[in-house]
């Protein structure tokens, strides 16, 4: 017997994601999902970002990693609240994991929730977590061909950050190639060049983040 079903396979994840978003909307918190390859500088960027937003802007970070609490330990002194989510073997965060994380936060007292996804350029893109904005990082040492190789991740980004620009003079990195690829993949998202090490471009990133609270 053949049964026609027509049902969203990720219904369970998507329903929890919508609930997460609703919960954060109610608390007037902006949730930012940071996605990139491992080692592109998500944690270092947050170490720069949280103090730069100002002492009165309370931030929480949910950090997704397969193992260890190292990232959470780095962010703990800076963020109002930090929660490490260990996915074990999971290569991406899911909405229920984020629900569990935000359930432990005092959302009403926060301005931003940063969700540092598991370093991976494929799997995280398929899962709505209930975030308001998706930010994709690309670091200079990863090379100038990443945008073309992982187009779907960059296509759905609300902002694209080129990190570690202090290495631009050291490595062969063709900025023209990145811009050219982005011109076919995503012309709507701002492209911000920055270095968490030197501080270059951080102002522009902070300004973009502040802008998201007014929407």
């Amino acid at each position: 017997m053949k049964v026609r079903v027509v049902e969203n396979v990720l219904k369970a994840n998507d329903a929890v994601a919508s609930a997460n978003r609703g919960r954060m909307d109610q608390a007037r918190v902006v949730a930012i999902n940071l996605m990139s390859a491992p080692g592109s500088g998500k944690t270092t960027l947050l170490e720069r970002t949280i103090p730069a937003l100002g002492a009165d802007v309370r931030c929480a970070v949910l950090v997704g990693d397969l193992q260890t609490t190292r990232d959470a330990e780095r962010l703990e002194p800076l963020a109002a609240e930090t929660i490490q989510i260990n996915t074990g073997t999971g290569c991406h965060l899911t909405a229920p994991q984020v629900a569990e994380g935000i359930g432990r936060l005092e959302l009403e007292r926060l301005a931003y929730v940063f969700i540092e996804n598991v370093g991976n350029m494929v799997c995280p893109a398929a899962f709505d977590l209930g975030e308001h904005r998706r930010v994709v990082l690309l670091s200079v040492p990863e090379g100038d061909d990443k945008v073309a190789k992982y187009p779907t991740l960059f296509q759905q980004a609300d902002a694209i950050l080129l990190t570690k620009t202090d290495l631009l003079g050291v490595l062969d990195f063709d900025m023209g190639r990145v811009r050219d690829d982005l011109s076919r993949i995503n012309t709507a998202a701002p492209f911000i060049e920055l270095s968490a090490k030197s501080g270059q471009g951080i102002d522009q990133w902070i300004e973009w983040l502040r802008g998201q609270r007014r929407l």
Partner: protein, 121 residues
């Protein structure tokens, strides 16, 4: 390997559908997968087989139907079918789009065995 999470969701939906029809066993499952989800069919097959073990869908055949992407330009409202690596609107030449299809993962149908006495009811 997000195919594993997808397979888990799929088995959940399949089991619910089969139970709803008083089935005893599922023999075939058809799922449509949007190209934007970057699902590797072989990986989904392996994950599905592993997750199905011990469920009604153990040993079921999985049919994967790929769905193309569709986009609407945020500037001019024009609809088009983008290539996965290029989202340029053919009218305005900008890549500022809303993806309207290609992200879905839909359980389309299941083929199942229904015991005789249940089928008569």
């Amino acid at each position: 390997m997000h195919e594993l999470s997808i397979a888990e969701g799929l088995i959940d939906r399949v089991s619910a559908a089969a139970r709803g029809h008083c089935a005893s066993r599922v023999t075939e499952v058809t799922v449509s997968v949007g190209v934007m989800r970057l699902v590797v069919p072989e990986a989904l097959q392996i994950a599905f087989g592993a997750v199905a073990e011990g469920t009604m869908a153990e040993g079921a055949e999985l049919q994967i139907v790929e769905q193309t992407a569709k986009a609407v330009c945020n500037r001019c409202g024009g609809a088009f079918e983008p290539d996965i690596g290029c989202y340029l609107c053919p009218s305005c030449g900008l890549a500022d789009v809303r993806i309207t299809a290609g992200n879905e993962i839909i359980l389309e149908s299941v083929v199942c065995d229904v015991p005789q006495e249940e089928a008569v009811r």
